[in-house]
């Protein structure tokens, strides 16, 4: 009879424009490894952040060994027994292994602020032994490779048990992304050993691995529970089915207005390669066409788009615009080629939040408002008013800082900016993220209208449904390569399940 060590009860969390978690439930028993899977945006990382104290839930509770806890910081969460091996490294590379294992928790070896190194080293050796890591604790962390560092992070997490006298609840967030085959096997053998003294949550989009290592699996979809499976009784297909499977709501994506792309090729990409990110990406983008990239984190799709936007140059390959080869090595080169990039991180890369609408729209091309070498505020004001009207931007006034606009309206300003430079290609990276439903539909209408005028789109959508609904063509990507090209004509749209099997 296994006790439940961690229970998540009816947890909800809302962010502007999106319900990230909607009354989710989860239980982890003693000495078990529970898998957590779901698409991008399913709510996995939000739940993890709540568990380790980075976010606070709007409702619901978290119980550790039956007692409700509300950690307000990572340190508090570890005091309650919850800790995480982060996807981004959390170790300090300029400190030694032993210092990292006990960082922030050196009380046992410190008297009046002075550290007893011998004692710490002995303790560190004990912790490393728990994860089968044969390493001198005095080694500086910068010398270790990723796999070893991950083990040190694990040791750091395990060390907690000596402080709290409880078995720890360990969360692993995408631990295998940076590991190769042998290292993954090593990790798994250590996790098996760890199971005997801890409860583990294993979050990953590598479903084969999840099926290998876990006892039970929770599937999340759109912030809700979509299923709870017993690992040895299920398979990849069942997980896929639970992960997707929503109805495409009628004309939400204005499929009726989807046009057939023209013959002219606007961008031709041949063998685009960047070591560590993507390899041999080739495709043609036609006038009026909407191509989407579908893939999970690490698939390389964001990097390909950034390369075409001039933000992250590829190592090899060829890009041709309207037939002539082009080096897109900076944003201004991309802009000259008629490419407009609408980034994921609107507030940092898309808009200058502390400027108002007009200056943001005119920034890429001030010649629109320059008369005889000088800027004309009057022209700028007229321009701002024109776009506010054309794009139905709801703003307190043309002088309002973009900071004060809603997500949807901010996005409209970004789109206006590029339309003012007469772009031929839009690269949209998660264009409807953080945008409310009404504004989302406006964006879809706009995309259809622009496509009709001949503007081409490269799209990274928020959800599979959006990907399918909007596109003429979908490229699935996995581990840096295009794994499949699926046509998505308006009258014969593919199903999410057809995509997902090529994505993970």
């Amino acid at each position: 009879m296994q006790d439940i060590v961690l229970e998540v009860r009816n947890i909800s969390k809302k962010f502007p424009g999106v319900q990230a978690l909607d009354r989710v439930n989860l239980q982890v028993k003693q000495h078990e490894i529970v898998g957590l899977v779901g698409e991008n945006g399913a709510g996995k990382s939000t739940l993890l952040k709540i568990l380790i104290g980075a976010y606070q839930p709007d409702q619901g509770e978290v119980l550790v060994r039956g007692k409700p806890v509300r950690p307000r910081s990572v340190k508090e969460a570890t005091d309650f027994g919850l800790s995480m091996v982060f996807q981004e490294q959390s170790l300090l590379s300029n400190l030694t292994v032993q210092e990292n294992i006990f960082l922030g928790n050196e009380e046992a070896f410190t008297r009046f602020g002075v550290i007893n190194w011998k004692k710490m080293k002995r303790e560190a050796e004990k912790q490393l032994a728990k994860v089968d890591l044969d390493l001198d604790p005095g080694t500086y962390t910068y010398k270790l490779n990723f796999a070893t560092r991950q083990m040190v992070e694990l040791a750091r997490v395990i060390a907690m048990e000596d402080r709290t006298k409880f078995e720890p609840i360990v969360i692993l967030d995408e631990p295998t992304t940076v590991l190769d085959g042998n290292e993954i096997d090593l990790l798994f053998s250590r996790l098996h050993k760890l199971k005997e003294r801890a409860a583990i949550i294993f979050v990953s989009h590598h479903l084969e691995e999840v099926l290998k290592i876990t006892d039970r699996i929770y599937v999340f979809k759109d912030g809700k529970n979509a299923g709870e499976l017993i690992t040895r009784e299920t398979d990849v297909n069942e997980i896929h089915r639970l992960m997707v499977g929503r109805e495409l709501r009628g004309e939400y994506y204005r499929q009726g207005k989807q046009i057939k792309p023209e013959e002219d090729v606007v961008i031709k990409v041949e063998n685009l390669t960047k070591s560590g990110k993507y390899k041999d990406v080739s495709f043609d983008l036609h006038k009026g066409e909407i191509i989407s990239f579908a893939g999970v984190l690490g698939s390389g799709r964001e990097d390909v788009c950034r390369a075409l936007a001039g933000l992250d140059r590829a190592d090899g390959g060829k890009i041709s615009i309207n037939g002539s080869k082009l080096e897109i090595d900076s944003p201004s080169a991309a802009i000259k080629a008629g490419i407009g990039y609408v980034p994921q991180d609107r507030g940092v890369e898309g808009l200058v939040l502390y400027l108002s609408i007009g200056p943001n729209i005119t920034l890429p091309d001030l010649s629109n408002i320059t008369h005889r070498g000088f800027l004309s505020p009057k022209s700028e004001r007229r321009l701002a008013e024109h776009w506010i009207e054309r794009m139905s931007i709801k703003a307190p006034g043309p002088n309002a800082l973009c900071l004060n606009l809603s997500g949807g309206n901010q996005q409209k300003v970004v789109l206006s900016k590029w339309l003012a430079t007469k772009v031929k290609v839009f690269i949209l990276d998660h264009p409807t993220r953080g945008v409310d439903v009404g504004a989302k539909e406006e964006v879809y209408e706009l995309i259809r209208e622009l496509a009709k005028q001949g503007i081409a789109f490269l799209l990274i959508a928020d959800t599979l449904e959006e990907t399918i609904g909007l596109s003429n063509m979908i490229f699935t990507m996995k581990d840096g390569e295009i794994t499949n090209r699926i046509e998505a004509p308006a009258d014969n749209k593919p199903l999410p399940i057809d995509l997902i099997k090529h994505m993970m």
């Binding site: 944003p331 802009i335 920034l363 004309s376």
Partner: protein, 322 residues
């Protein structure tokens, strides 16, 4: 639109930082007029203005750097070098000496700008290094002794020191620079890009602006204006020395920040610096009249800088403050 909506909209566009400096100035002027009835006399005000002209010009240059979110610590030694160059070259080049001094300023700014952008060194280090280099070179070139402009050459200085319509020319020159920088800030590409870079450098880069180039222009402008203020100093002091601009850095930073240009960048401008200069003018006069020791005043300004930065810095934009 209802009145309440109008008020809310106004609140969203105007912030506390916009209003404080002018309010402070008004309060100070009122206090001063009460304390000293002769304060508001035109003669008195114009006299004060001509004393502050040099500071205004230097502050205007620094405004563009602070708008970028950077800082230029080298303006005082650059100004001092300009005084030395002017004083040394007048006998041989006449008015040409001033041209050389200005070119030197542009060159100093070009160097700092290149080191900052191409070698990717934070501005406070690059300008700290420049500060040391120009201080040292200033001492070497002038042999650590002040250089005087002889009476025979005095006529080269009158374009600044003479009075026109009862007002010293230096005031007209400073106001001309104010107008020039105002136009630069609000009506040129350069000004627009500086503000955009300070307010959001990444987004500005993605919009295709050549960041490095305009940063270099900004540093060139700042150092050239520092050199110009040096020229103004040297004409009024009839000479040049490596120590002539001592104490200006602190005041130049103070006038920019007190005027309401935040060191987080993007917000503010030259008109605010003008207000800042007025505030410092009145504050100085007030402290002098109250008999506050001039050295203690330096300590006061140190405290004022700290306070002003604390009040105006936009913490939401800088997550980790080092």
């Amino acid at each position: 639109m209802s009145v309440q909506t109008r008020i809310n909209n106004y609140r969203k566009t105007k912030t506390w930082v916009d209003v404080m400096p002018i309010a402070t100035l008004v309060v100070l002027v009122i206090l001063m007029s009460i304390g000293s009835p002769r304060f508001l006399l035109p003669a008195n005000l114009l006299g004060l203005l001509s004393q502050s002209a040099t500071l205004l010009v230097m502050g205007l240059g620094q405004t563009f750097i602070i708008l970028l979110g950077s800082i230029d610590l080298s303006i005082a030694p650059v100004a001092a070098m300009a005084t030395i160059i002017a004083a040394m070259l007048i006998p041989d080049l006449g008015y040409g000496a001033f041209v050389v001094a200005l070119l030197y300023g542009a060159f100093a700014g070009l160097l700092t700008g290149i080191i900052h952008t191409k070698a990717r060194i934070p501005s406070f280090i690059a300008t700290l290094g420049a500060m040391g280099v120009w201080t040292g070179i200033g001492f070497i070139v002038s042999n650590a002794t002040p250089i005087s402009v002889s009476l025979a050459n005095g006529h080269y200085l009158t374009w600044v020191t003479e009075n026109t319509l009862g007002v010293s020319n230096v005031v007209y020159l400073a106001l001309a620079i104010l107008i020039l920088t105002f136009v630069l800030e609000n009506y040129t590409r350069f000004g627009r890009y500086v503000k955009a870079m300070g307010a959001g450098e990444k987004a500005t880069y993605v919009s295709g602006v050549a960041i490095d180039r305009y940063k270099i222009y900004a540093f060139m402008l700042c150092s050239t204006l520092a050199a110009f203020s040096g020229i103004l100093l040297s004409t009024r002091m009839s000479g040049g020395s490596a120590r002539m601009a001592d104490g200006f850095l602190m005041k130049a930073i103070a006038v920019v920040i007190l005027g309401g240009t935040a060191i987080s960048g993007g917000i503010g401008g030259v008109m605010r610096t003008f207000v800042g200069v007025l505030i410092v003018m009145v504050l100085d006069m007030g402290m002098n009249m109250a008999g506050v020791n001039p050295w203690f005043q330096q300590a006061v300004y140190g405290g004022i800088i700290i306070l002003a930065v604390a009040l105006t810095i936009d913490r939401s934009r800088i997550s980790i403050i080092k």
